[in-house]
Symmetry: C2
């Protein structure tokens, strides 16, 4: 069988230009700067910051985020939380409706193990399922998810939020932990209005709301425009990507992840083909019409992907064109889904490998 050990992927001191491709690599200095820049903003505004680990799925990076000042972490799956609990994290918020016998049983075991596990719920069905699996011996903290315009999960009105808070409060095995929202970008006023009305209703009901958790990277630097929030959650900011550049969160020079690819064919003057396809870059368009930004070739466009090939249109290139065998550095449209495709992540400083980390929480369903 192929050697799956880290040493085959890369070892400290290797040049990333010599790595086998396709391969995402992370720039250590940009990574550190991204962590520092966001934490500094949160500190300045007195907001607790809770990084979402779905972007990297690597405990060592969450350690760095907490060392910088983050308070707790955010996971999307029970298994992600298990991996990070094993790595020593105690304050974990899972922003997902947990349903189904297997997941609830695992969640109950996890709650026995760490001090401060929290989940969200946006329906009576979810709350009742949780209530049936937890007891007053060690209650589970549950926050109510509110849809403030994001259009995904969440109750639609402050009335519903308050109603679910009362249901959580009434359950022996559950503790009401607050409210959570994942808003659409640039909607601070709507978010604040929804939260303020919800807090009023909770106050009328005599229910304390310890946490008001807002989220998202794209409008992260507008988090202070939601003054009722006590914390902010974000994941993508740690690596950044082409979408975050377009949304104004960062510049291309803040993108810590590049997907390294090799030009394997130049069938025509206007066409190059690389060895990074949808199994390396993913098909996430994120509103773009092409599949990533090629550093140094701004006029080249990755116009289509098959599984292991990316087809690049060079027809607009006025300067040099990439040659067969050349390595390209690509800023992916969406970094979180690229992470999820690779079992290991290579880090570098100035093109020299510093370390290889296991993407420990990928590939786990339960």
């Amino acid at each position: 069988m192929p050697d799956r050990s880290f040493a085959v992927v890369a070892k400290a001191g290797d040049r990333i230009a010599d790595l086998s491709t396709p391969r995402p690599v992370i720039d250590e200095d940009r990574l550190a700067a991204n962590i520092a820049r966001v934490q500094s903003y949160m500190d300045e505004h007195g907001l607790n910051f809770r990084p979402h680990i779905k972007t990297h799925k690597i405990p060592a990076l969450a350690v760095a985020q907490v060392a910088a000042g983050a308070r707790g972490i955010n996971c999307q799956k029970v298994t992600e939380a298990e991996v990070f609990a094993e790595a020593g994290f105690n304050d974990i918020l899972i922003t997902f409706n947990i349903l189904g016998q297997q997941k609830l049983e695992r969640l109950a075991r996890l709650n026995e193990r760490i001090s401060d596990l929290k989940v969200v719920a946006d329906s009576e069905v979810t709350i009742d399922g949780l209530a049936a699996h937890f007891s007053g011996h060690k209650p589970l903290t549950v926050l109510v998810e509110c849809d403030t315009g994001g259009g995904r999960c969440g109750v639609q009105t402050p009335e519903e939020a308050a109603s679910l808070a009362r249901r959580i409060t009434a359950a022996d095995g559950l503790t009401f932990g607050g409210i959570v929202t994942y808003p659409k970008p640039q909607s601070a006023a709507a978010v604040e209005a929804f939260i303020a009305e919800t807090l009023d209703r909770l106050k009328s009901d005599g229910i304390t709301c310890p946490i008001v958790s807002n989220g998202g990277t794209p409008s992260l630097f507008e988090a202070h425009l939601v003054p009722s929030a006590t914390e902010h959650r974000a994941g993508t900011y740690i690596y950044n990507d082409r979408q975050m550049v377009r949304m104004g969160h960062c510049s291309e020079d803040d993108c810590a992840m590049h997907v390294l690819a090799t030009v394997v064919s130049r069938p025509t003057a206007d066409r190059a083909v690389i060895d990074a396809g949808s199994k390396a870059l993913t098909s996430d368009l994120q509103g773009f019409s092409d599949y990533g930004l090629i550093v140094g070739y701004p006029e080249a466009r990755i116009t289509s992907l098959s599984e292991e090939h990316g087809v690049i249109d060079l027809s607009n290139c006025t300067g040099p064109r990439p040659q067969i065998g050349e390595k390209l550095f690509i800023i992916p449209n969406h970094t979180c889904v690229v992470s999820n495709l690779f079992d290991t992540m290579v880090f570098h400083r100035g093109g020299v490998v510093t370390r290889v980390e296991e993407v420990a929480a990928r590939g786990l369903v339960w």
Copy 2:
């Protein structure tokens, strides 16, 4: 750490309706029928059939394909070929331009190990790189890749194909193995014309062309319309997917893969949210405007995906609507990229688990 063993995922006798989600599952009877139907067509037309393992990446399935009559297998990566060589396969065609020191060294070791390794090349650079790593002691068989209209890799003209064939023939460490194409669907006449002219040129040069390899699932049942081809390659046919239904290769009842997902939220009357997002279904649209077909809810549309959520628009549903906690069976747009996200694959017959296989060749870059 979470238990990653197969037993946690599922074991024979479990009901798939009880599995934790999101989870792709494979219907054994449909799988067997897909293998038999395609092999029977190839046998009828006297074509060798070479299944592409990129769809499943599971040696046990390739064993079944060969047992049914397939001659050799097709891989897209050196590491995929290593995994299948370890499993006992000797006739392996890697349809990729292999470039770079690490890959060439691994390819050379693999060539020492199995009897009938073949790769493709579409440029002098690729051929010269191969020639530098192989010797007359155990030459590597190289086929010339031809772009007959597919618009990906491949030489553009029969002249170029013949020129590269001469270059391969002239290299001590290489043996000319034939020509390969991955055509666009429904282009049999153009493919045949390109091949016929190439064969004429090779004949004039006194070069024998042992293999003419045509490919693709969408127009697989038109393979006989390319009489010069000696073999056909296809991958997706083994599982089939929504795209193959649209392209007329099969019906919905031939789709062996379903992604099992749970409805985790019903925020509004017209919106359901499932726990399958882009990290389970992938963002591959394949020409559709939504992300999969929900069995039993043909009017429901999966309109957007975030990483762990899929948002379903129910506004067109005239009948019952899925409820929180309900399990849905989704035919994915593209099965091959779904396989690539999961470390294990669950098989069932009539909803009862028959086996769990490791997706052995996923996650390997080199």
